[in-house]
Subunit: 234 residues, 2 copies
């Protein structure tokens, strides 16, 4: 049995304020809870509808159609990072939770272990990000940071900083490095001026539209194209 | 001034049933309405908040935050298609409006003029598809059809039918044709058995995850990767 206080506490985790206060977030669904249990994350509690009943489950769930299982998971401690040689992803003010979840899934698919996200990017423990990531939040480490500063650290370590722009160099024509940082920009503003200033290689995804085409691509699909292009060459 | 009957009629276009009955759909926002006006589509009416007032606009709008302009656009007549040589996209039961809109935008970007969608795919005049497509619905023609039959027509015309599977041939290793049909499958089920039987080339997007990674990619990001790979080689 769950007390009303416990129900209220679990429910409160839908808000970032309480996720920060308690250092926990919620995961729902057999598959995602299974991924959490197999991951290095600490699962604080698992609630099954068969044990707590449908009514209680619908009270603690953040989904419109509650699933049969819900877990409360501890957020990992923020860790400072020593920059090893390798390929990283940088996110400059990604705001849409669906995009963030999709990008985490892509990073996982393409073997990117660490993402640096600007502090104004959407939090990865947002329930919509957790669901859209399909479990990848448990395998890809996301660090919220001063992104321009991280870019400068890459440059100081003699690693390239790539960014996508509407006036860059043809992505298909470059010889991509197996190390460095690939920065993807905000949904409507693109990459910020401060980060742009530290980018060492400006890339363009060329359009093949015969006449007038779209002005840009969605950031998650652009990330898919860039990561595919970097990885297929290795 | 709009009469109550007119308001009710415009509002009803949020449902597929009435879009089919009236042969019209709604477009909102300065940019999208501009794209509609410049396109080959017939714009039946344009309503501006400055003319009809904020209250009326909020009654006819399908958005939670109404934009200053809304247009009612005639759906194009379905046209039977003579298959020219070239590259086409086939969608097998794509259900999510966001995915459909994103795929339309990608097709537009990569110069695909015609999409064949199975009849159980989400309708492109669904308001969420219209918004997510960012205007590409006015430039890319989508035909709802018997997809297995269309696949057979490609094969009879000696054009390849490509499909993505979890056990296909490495996408990066093939020599893609500049013509044929690329089929993308349903969000959870993938490509149907009936369509699979007509596919001539089974493709796999390889994962680069070092250990255990995600089981699959989102269909819109998979479409981005495949179209990028086909087009960069031409």
């Amino acid at each position: 049995m769950l007390t009303n206080a416990e129900i209220k506490r679990i429910k409160s985790l839908k808000d970032k304020k309480f996720r920060d206060e308690y250092g926990q977030f919620v995961v729902e669904g057999e598959k995602l809870v299974g991924e959490a249990l197999e991951s290095a994350f600490h699962v604080a509690a698992v609630y099954r509808q068969s044990e707590i009943g449908q009514e209680t489950m619908s009270r603690i769930s953040q989904l419109s159609s509650p699933s049969p299982v819900l877990a409360v998971v501890d957020k990992p401690e923020p860790c400072s990072v020593a920059l090893g040689r390798g390929l990283y992803l940088g996110l400059d003010s990604i705001r849409d939770p669906g995009n963030m979840g999709t990008i985490l899934r892509l990073a996982d698919w393409f073997g990117i272990n660490t993402i640096f996200a600007s502090i104004d990017s959407v939090e990865i423990f947002n329930p919509k990000v957790v669901q859209a990531s399909m479990g990848s939040i448990f395998r890809v480490r996301t660090l919220y940071c001063d992104l321009p500063e991280i870019c400068r650290r890459f440059r100081h370590a003699d690693m390239p900083v790539y960014g996508t722009f509407l006036d860059g160099e043809d992505l298909y024509g470059i010889n991509p490095s197996g190390e460095g940082l690939i920065v993807m920009g905000n949904e409507s503003e693109g990459i910020s001026t401060e980060v742009s200033a530290v980018v060492s290689s400006r890339l363009l995804i060329p359009s093949f539209a015969a006449g007038r085409g779209p002005e840009s691509l969605n950031v998650a699909t652009a990330t898919a194209i860039v990561l595919s292009e970097f990885r297929r060459r290795r």
